[in-house]
Symmetry: C2
Subunit: 222 residues, 2 copies
């Protein structure tokens, strides 16, 4: 069986899990404690990061960008990157936005400081980073809400990797209770729509030792 | 004429310039001082980053990942992402490596601290970041050298976006004199090969006000 090496709280692994599930590609999840730098894992991905996809034919695809592009090429049913050149440019721009800009300005400041540092005993969270993360979340949710109001889905009329990428980051932050959904009603409404898709269910069932998600985390009508 | 909004020292813009030139796609360069947050520019790319490609037909492609994938789809001659699924996974893994891991561990610590901060009057460089950047450069050059020794080009038998991506980061660092090429002879030999390609010439002719690149920067037999 196809294996996805992951960590439950990794937004990049969450994005791939959503893409796989939306495409109805079956896979087994395997947790990889990347900080242990397991020799066999470094052999399949020298970067030492998750997600890594291992296909039944032995093909290894490392890096969430490489995996998502691979999935749309290898399993073209249910395309997630858009159909026309312009559609695809827009989906990828937004994937770049959430995996790059949002990750640097929000995810890293909150998830890394508040969750990973404590989890991995890497020192105390920096208050200034956490403050910046909360401050930056606001314009990002506003932008997301604006996109959701002017389009059916974030990149256009069809659901795409842009939605799953944004939802992957937000769901990890939501798990640790860090998303103030009152900032943007359209963003909240969009998230409720993504969250209610069947592909999202396994993420809502995730439970991490030592962290209890807020009551609304798995609630479809939050 | 097609326009590429860029900054001469942006590794992401350099990667796109190399890809365009390798594919012999003509384009005009336009410097975008992103820190000025020009209104018309934010309208075409709300992220406020370079590179942004503007096609003659009006199509805007923002984000270097989106641009490079777009170029290989819109101009499939001289493919830069590889041919088979496995080739493409490997090219993209390495693009993810250099634009993600290398950028975070090396480029950011050196280019941002030493060059951008001074250029943009954003405070003094942090000595600890610069030290980390130099320390991290060593294993990265070793890895690059190992790839270059075991393959013809970084991702396999053909030159690919992986080579241009790695060379884009290293050329920006080389411009500010931050690459100790004595660390890895095979990495240096690989860089000399990339650098001698016609697509590289415009980058070697770049001159930034206030920065004089080291003598070997534009020397093909450095």
């Amino acid at each position: 069986m196809r294996i996805l090496y992951h960590l439950p709280m990794s937004p990049y692994a969450r994005k791939v899990r959503l893409a796989l599930a939306e495409k109805r590609i079956p896979f087994d999840l395997r947790v990889e404690r990347v900080w242990e730098r397991r020799h066999e894992f470094l052999e399949i991905n020298p970067a030492g990061t998750v997600p890594v996809l291992q296909e039944d034919n032995g093909l290894i695809v490392a890096d969430s960008y490489a995996i998502c592009e691979y999935l749309d090429e290898a399993y073209p049913d249910t395309p997630l990157l858009g159909r026309t050149l312009a559609d695809r440019a827009e989906v990828r721009r937004l994937v770049g936005w959430f995996d790059g800009k949002f990750a640097a300005e929000v995810t890293r400041n909150l998830l890394y400081e508040k969750y990973q540092k404590r989890h991995l005993n890497r020192g105390n969270p920096e208050a200034s980073a956490i403050r910046a993360g909360y401050q930056n979340l606001r314009p990002h949710l506003d932008y997301l809400g604006w996109l959701a109001e002017t389009r059916v889905w974030l990149a256009g009329p069809s659901i795409s990797l842009a939605d799953f990428c944004a939802a992957a980051h937000l769901s990890a932050l939501d798990f640790i209770g860090d998303v103030d959904w009152s900032i943007s009603e359209p963003a909240k409404e969009w998230y409720a729509r993504v969250k209610s898709r069947p592909c999202f269910r396994p993420l809502l069932a995730d439970r991490e030792t030592g962290v209890t998600p807020p009551a609304h985390y798995a609630d479809l009508d939050f």
